[in-house]
């Protein structure tokens, strides 16, 4: 998904061309995208939401917003109060203006209003009229930790009245306090991650840095939400993409696998169906279904003071019609967004999909696809519906388009099964027929020598130099030791042998990638990147050979460069002779038989390594120990070689840039 991020970033940075030359000006300052399953790019999408209005009365610095029963509760640290509005933005009342100092988070239940006050270091439980019912102050149990800060930023409450509090810098996780104010423990702590760069820096740094090597604190969550079932949702910044949005089970385990998440997230809200709405500071609004599928992404593409542009989005909430309310801390505004036609269809479809009502959702998903042919989830849902209807061919196509390998494999299994049952007899008949023909031909050959002309041609060919060059890989398959001896001693091998094997290797690499079955690639487009394959296959071979030759010359290896290079290519022969048939075979395999492919690949690789080991050993006339040493040195040499090439490239690039700029 890295490319998607790059793509998104480039759009954000350029703000210039949405991928077509002409900039389509719009009343709505958003670019909307939906991920295309199995491809490395995003497809354009109609807006799922459109801003319809904005209000700002009495708002100074809104930090958080909560919707409850036709009322919007806004925690405003500038106004030092909770401001209450109706869903049209009409001001209704103020709560807690006389005691709140810096309300940062608000949560409303049918009985109470909960407010996280950063400055007072208290979480308040208020009645709906605004009187204090209870104050949750810093827990004094040793379990909480004596030095842990208690600076409440956000609060959520489950149905039994337990509070989940995010405190500033609470790296231990979410503070869980029960209704009576007793500290229950930390919940859903984030995992730590140390980047390679950080690790290098700390390892190479001084004593002080080294002592911090593994003293990394997990990032503290940014915001929190809770759904009707009591599942807690958190967002966290400065962490891996898949960790940014979490849905925590009762045990505190993350049950989501988010493919893509924006940076700088500020708030999350969850609707009754478990759909998640996440907003980032820059105003990227991402909508996920309850499984964590990214449905759509809306990105603000303008900085002008237009309706729908955010300077610093801080909070989001959704009402029962999924209308969204997004607060902007800098502008001191709240923008109201409404669902669009495609979004209404989409949410309806997602609800049915979630409940497994695939057949009932077919019309809806077809409507979605009519509006946008690239909507992956619709294809997946339709695939499941077709599968239920036993229309396996249609299901297979829909699963292919949604890159649902499992679904595809299942549909294909059914199709293959149908084919086999209806064709098994004819297959057997064909097999028997072939055997009979073979027998008859052999019999005729013995009697009348009908194969003689072929034999003559074969013998003539065997005497040519071409045969000498081309036979090596096949020789290697059957008699590896003899083949190595042949390479080393016969004197018949030339660079032509290397070239033919190298070409076979490259062609096989490209073709086997190309013909591999969908189940084993998930490649929707049926396209392969030839250049990348060529580079990734050719460079390691050449680097190895070169490095091995250099290493061997200083470690008493006997082999010449020609011998090393042909020997290496001969060792590779199982791969380039059998990878292609194996790839072809994957077209009739399903996930159930994937072990065939995996074992085949493993076996071929093992075969190659054995070949390589003996090739190096015999060509250089090494002992086993020397061979191992040589191989390790060769790998080391390869790394150094590539590093040198890379550095040279970088330096030359600098020089070229300098000359170009100098002009």
């Amino acid at each position: 998904m890295n490319k998607i991020r790059l793509f998104v970033l480039s759009i954000l940075l350029l703000g210039l061309f949405s991928s077509s030359v002409t900039v389509h000006a719009q009343s709505t300052p958003y670019d909307s995208f939906t991920p295309v399953a199995g491809r490395d790019y995003l497809a354009q999408l109609q807006n799922l939401y459109e801003p319809v209005n904005m209000f700002s009365q009495h708002i100074e610095k809104p930090e958080d917003i909560f919707y409850f029963k036709d009322r919007l509760y806004v925690a405003d640290s500038g106004a030092q109060a909770i401001l209450v509005y109706d869903t049209k933005g009409n001001f209704i009342t103020t709560i807690g203006a006389d005691f709140l100092s810096a309300p940062m988070g608000v949560f409303v239940s049918s009985d109470f209003i909960y407010v996280a006050d950063y400055q007072n270091e208290i979480c308040y439980k208020l009645s709906h009229s605004g009187t204090i019912v209870q104050e949750y102050v810093r827990p004094d149990t040793p379990l909480f930790g004596s030095k842990e800060p208690y600076k409440p930023m956000k609060v959520s409450v489950n149905q039994s009245g337990d509070l989940y509090i995010i405190s500033e810098g609470s790296t231990n996780g979410i503070i869980q306090i029960n209704e009576r104010g007793e500290f229950l423990g930390y919940f859903g702590v984030n995992s730590t991650s140390l980047s390679f760069r950080d690790m290098m820096q700390r390892m190479l740094g001084g004593q002080e840095k080294r002592s911090q090597l593994f003293a990394v604190k997990p990032p503290s969550p940014e915001n929190i939400s809770i759904d009707d079932q009591g599942l807690v949702y958190t967002i966290t910044n400065n962490t891996a993409e898949s960790e940014r949005i979490k849905k925590l089970s009762i045990a505190g385990k993350n049950v989501l696998d988010i493919g893509w998440a924006a940076e700088g997230l500020t708030d999350i809200t969850v609707d009754a169906m478990g759909n998640m709405f996440v907003v980032s500071e820059l105003g990227i609004l991402s909508i996920y279904d309850s499984f964590g599928h990214l449905l759509g992404n809306m990105m603000v593409n303008d900085t002008a003071e237009r309706l729908g542009v955010f300077q610093q989005a801080s909070g989001i909430c959704a009402d029962q019609n999924r209308r969204l309310y997004i607060t902007d801390k800098t502008n001191a505004t709240i923008t109201i967004l409404e669902t669009t036609e495609i979004a209404n269809h989409m949410f309806e479809g997602v609800s049915l999909y979630k409940e497994g009502l695939y057949l009932q959702s077919m019309d809806i998903w077809n409507e979605v696809l009519a509006l946008n042919v690239n909507f992956s989830l619709a294809h997946q849902a339709l695939g499941k519906a077709y599968y239920k209807q036993q229309d396996y061919a249609a299901a297979r196509e829909s699963f292919r388009r949604s890159a649902d390998i499992k679904g595809y494999s299942d549909a294909f299994w059914e199709l293959r099964n149908d084919w086999l049952t209806s064709n098994l007899t004819s297959l057997f008949a064909l097999l028997v027929l072939l055997l009979v023909i073979k027998r008859v031909l052999r019999h005729l050959d013995r009697k009348r020598g009908i194969y003689d002309p072929v034999r003559r041609i074969w013998h003539r060919y065997k005497a040519t130099r071409v045969y000498d060059q081309l036979r090596t890989p096949f020789y290697m398959l059957r008699h590896p030791i003899d083949a190595i001896e042949y390479i080393k001693r016969s004197g018949k091998i030339s660079y032509a042998a290397f070239l033919s094997m190298f070409a076979a290797y490259l062609i096989s690499a490209v073709l086997s990638e190309y013909v591999r079955g969908f189940v084993f690639t998930g490649n929707v487009t049926n396209q392969v990147n030839i250049v990348v394959i060529l580079l990734t296959t050719a460079i390691p071979v050449l680097a190895f050979v070169f490095s091995n030759y250099l290493v061997s010359t200083i470690t008493d290896g006997e082999g010449t460069f020609k011998q090393v290079i042909t020997g290496y290519m001969a060792a590779l022969s199982p791969i380039y002779l059998f990878a292609l048939p194996l790839s072809l075979l994957t077209n009739v395999l399903t996930l159930n038989e994937s072990f065939i492919f995996q074992f085949g690949t493993f076996f071929l690789t093992l075969w190659f390594f054995c070949n390589l080991f003996f090739t190096i050993k015999d060509i250089h006339n090494y002992s086993v120990q020397e061979t191992v040493k040589n191989l390790l040195l060769t790998v080391f040499g390869m790394v150094i070689l590539l590093l040198v090439i890379f550095i040279t490239y970088v330096l030359f690039d600098q020089v070229i840039q300098f000359v170009v700029n100098f002009r």
């Binding site: 000006a25 490395d40 354009q44 593409n301 303008d302 309706l307 990147n529």
Partner: protein, 746 residues
């Protein structure tokens, strides 16, 4: 009311005496050129029409304040008073006695600093930069160091504003005709010294400005379809003025692209008292260097004001290294262009946005820019067919076919059988696909059919009253394809770099360069004969219709580029359709495509209005943006009915699923089988409604509480109800999210 009315009778005599004593003839400036001196000597001493005894009363000023104003020009409708020091003007509309002032009388409690007071009252504000530093400063006509001389010459008054401190002078020529005041700044009358460089000027920025809640009224901004900014709704979240270059960004100046609608009309309006007094400013000349600036009360001052800023030199970022570092530089050469700005004053029933649109319409008609191009039997739907588009293969590209020539014929005939008579555009006909080259139309991709076949289809359809357009674009060239001379055909920016940019796709990227207008013209002329041979009309894409770049390679500035663009279709009789064109393209336009159906919704705008639609309704048929990409088709259809626009669609025979990774990624729903029923239904709705006003003009438009009423000159009223509940209006019930047509009386 705008001006405090305090009349002190004793002041009359004082005012009269003071005026008589005024030195009326300008001292010839020695530093002016000989020619200028000569011209000045010929000038007859200005016959100053001495102000009538009640000048002060008329202008609503204290007598001592009124002394400074001189009645310079007068006709049946207007009187022009000019302040003798600051060049502030007061225009009296004789029909209503309403005074339009460019300056203000400040009370003691006005919270405004003296610098702003000067800027408000000065008729001209010159922004200049020190030649050594790039810091800019302002020069105003205040009482120190600067001199203003007024001379009458026939029907004109020439004001010479001199700023000796910065060695700069301007001549401003005033004239009146009917209800219009024209202000000109001739380019050869601008003098500047060595040390200080003029960057831009503002003329009468506060003409018609209002105190935040002085009056009911609004500003009219032609952003998108048009928008108004009503007074008295000050919003604290608005912190910056609206600023937009007329005709959009200039890539020659490295302008960052904006995603708001670009301004296609050099105009803004001020309504001070709806149906009482209105004025609008229109740039006849120099529009390509005009920037519209709108400041709501509370942003810079406590007044609502709007003005055009005219740029002579612009700042740009000069990059000096690849890492993006560099410095802000100033253009050395001053752009040479004449400014002609016309203020038109409207009253009573014309004093609203519809009135402004109509008066502007008549201006365009009299300039020969706007013609009636409507057919007697117009099409109510516009279909854009996509022929072929590029598709990335393992190596290289292939043309993916979406609609062949015979598909196009089949679909059109299928629709015709259902009663839909569309106008048809065929784009992406180029060999290799639409984006194979972005500056060529021919040769035609073979998989689509032959040119002969296309010719037959075109004539067959046009016989059935179905006009056929061929989609063309001449704005950009692909630099990774042959046939472009970078050095002579691509726009060179102010920093001497070529205006090129790369768009990345999955596994490939495309490098584009913006074509110079002469290169665009040459390409168009190459294709012209083939268009004629095919008997086909031409539809130009949005980039060709809107982009206006200055080019520092050929040294052609933006104003000169306009002249080139005007030529593009001038010599041809084929019908031309433009996507969202700029004003200079109107003269050759037969159909207006992609007409905005709303504004860019800047926070300061309080309501969208059909300003552009009012200008064109009854003259040119216009179509809304394609409905395929619409987020809310129901709402968009209502909007079209309110605004009198016809729908358009993008249509393909094949599924557009392979377009996501191409430059046509904005097409994600277009397959005919899916859209057929929608096209037929929408067409039926639009035709049955808008047929009655197909040749009528909009004379009134009201939008209140999500209920819109558009009134046409044939008496037809169209009511559109956007609410979720039924509405009552003028004795009729309009269903929720629906519309109602009331026939005219005669």
């Amino acid at each position: 009311m705008l001006i405090r009315k305090k009349i002190i009778t004793g002041a009359i005599a004082v005012g009269l005496c003071a005026l008589l004593l005024q030195p009326v003839l300008a001292q010839p400036n020695e530093s002016l050129s000989k020619q200028q001196n000569k011209r000045q000597q010929e000038i007859v001493p200005a016959e100053i029409s001495h102000s009538t005894p009640d000048t002060a009363g008329l202008l609503g000023l204290e007598p001592e304040e009124a002394d400074a104003y001189q009645l310079c020009l007068e006709n049946e409708t207007l009187m022009l008073y000019i302040h003798q020091q600051t060049m502030g003007i007061k225009v009296v509309d004789k029909r209503t006695q309403y005074v339009w002032s460019s300056d203000r009388q400040f009370g003691e409690d006005d919270a405004i600093n003296s610098a702003w007071k000067k800027r408000i009252n000065s008729g001209i504000t010159v922004e200049y930069a020190n030649a050594k530093q790039n810091k800019t400063e302002y020069a105003m006509l205040d009482d120190q160091n600067h001199t203003l001389t007024l001379q009458q010459q026939g029907e004109q008054v020439i004001a010479t504003a001199e700023f000796p401190k910065i060695d700069v002078s301007f001549e401003i020529v005033f004239s009146l005709s009917d209800h219009r005041l024209s202000v000109e700044v001739p380019k050869d009358r601008i003098r500047e010294g060595e040390e200080f460089l003029i960057t831009n000027i503002l003329l009468f920025p506060f003409l018609g400005s209002t105190d935040q809640n002085e009056t009911d009224g609004y500003l009219v901004i032609p952003d998108g379809s048009g928008a108004i900014m009503e007074y008295g709704q000050q919003k604290k979240e608005i912190q910056n003025p609206y600023q937009a270059k007329v005709y959009g960004v200039d890539f020659g100046m490295k302008d960052a692209n904006s995603r708001a609608y670009s301004l296609t009309m050099p105009i803004y309006g001020i309504v001070n008292g709806v149906n009482h007094n209105a004025m609008y400013a229109y740039v006849n000349q120099g529009s390509a260097y005009a920037t519209l600036r709108v400041d709501p009360a509370g942003v810079t001052t406590d007044y609502n004001w709007a003005t055009f800023q005219f740029d002579y030199r612009q700042h740009f970022f000069r990059q000096t290294a690849n890492d993006g570092s560099g410095f802000t530089d100033l253009e050395q050469q001053k752009q040479a262009y004449d400014i002609q700005l016309t203020y038109s004053f409207l009253h009573n029933d014309d004093a609203n946005y519809t009135g402004i649109a109509h008066d502007y319409q008549s201006t365009l008609v009299s300039r020969g820019v706007l013609h009636k191009t409507q057919r007697d039997d117009p099409s109510f739907v516009y279909l854009q067919f996509l022929g072929a588009e590029i598709f990335k293969r393992e190596l290289g590209f292939r043309a993916n076919v979406y609609t062949t020539i015979s598909d196009l014929k089949e679909i059109t005939e299928d629709l015709e059988a259902q009663g839909v008579v569309p106008t048809v555009e065929y784009q992406g006909t180029l060999k290799g696909g639409k984006s194979e080259k972005t500056d060529r139309v021919f040769p035609i991709e073979r998989q689509l059919g032959s040119e002969a076949e296309l010719k037959d289809v075109v004539s067959a359809l046009q016989d059935k009253n179905i006009p056929v357009f061929l989609g063309a674009s001449y704005a950009y060239a692909r630099l990774d394809r042959r046939g472009v001379n970078k050095r002579t055909e691509i726009v060179q920016r102010v920093d001497q770099q070529l205006n090129v940019f790369t768009v990345d796709y999955d596994r490939y990227s495309i490098q584009y360069g913006a074509l110079r207008k002469d290169a665009s013209l040459a390409r168009f002329e190459d294709d012209l004969q083939r268009f004629r041979d095919l008997g086909v009309n031409v539809a130009l894409d949005a980039a060709t219709g809107t982009q206006l770049n200055s080019d520092y390679g050929s040294g052609r500035n933006r104003e000169e580029t306009v002249a080139f663009a005007e030529k593009m279709f001038a010599q041809d009789d084929a019908s031309v359709a433009y996507h969202h064109p700029n004003e200079y393209m109107f003269a050759t336009m037969d159909l207006y495509l992609d007409m905005p159906m709303g504004s860019s919704r800047f926070l300061m705008f309080t309501q969208d209005i059909p300003f552009v639609q009012t200008v064109f309704k009854g003259y040119v048929d216009y179509f809304a943006p394609t409905l395929n990409q619409s987020s809310n088709a129901e709402y968009d259809l209502l909007k079209m009915i309110e605004y009198g626009a016809y729908p358009s669609y993008i249509v393909t025979k094949q599924s557009p699923q392979d377009l996501a990774n191409t430059p046509s990624s904005d097409i994600f729903s277009s397959q005919y089988d899916i859209w057929k029923q929608r096209i037929i239904q929408t067409h039926a709705t639009v035709k049955s409604t808008l047929q009655q006003v197909a040749h009528a003009q909009i004379v009134d438009h009201v939008l209140e509480d999500d209920l819109a009423v558009t009134t046409y000159d044939n008496g037809v009223n169209i009511y559109v109800n956007y609410r979720d509940t039924a509405a009552q209006k003028d004795g009729s019930t309009i269903q929720a999210r629906s519309f109602f047509v009331r026939e005219g009386n005669g």
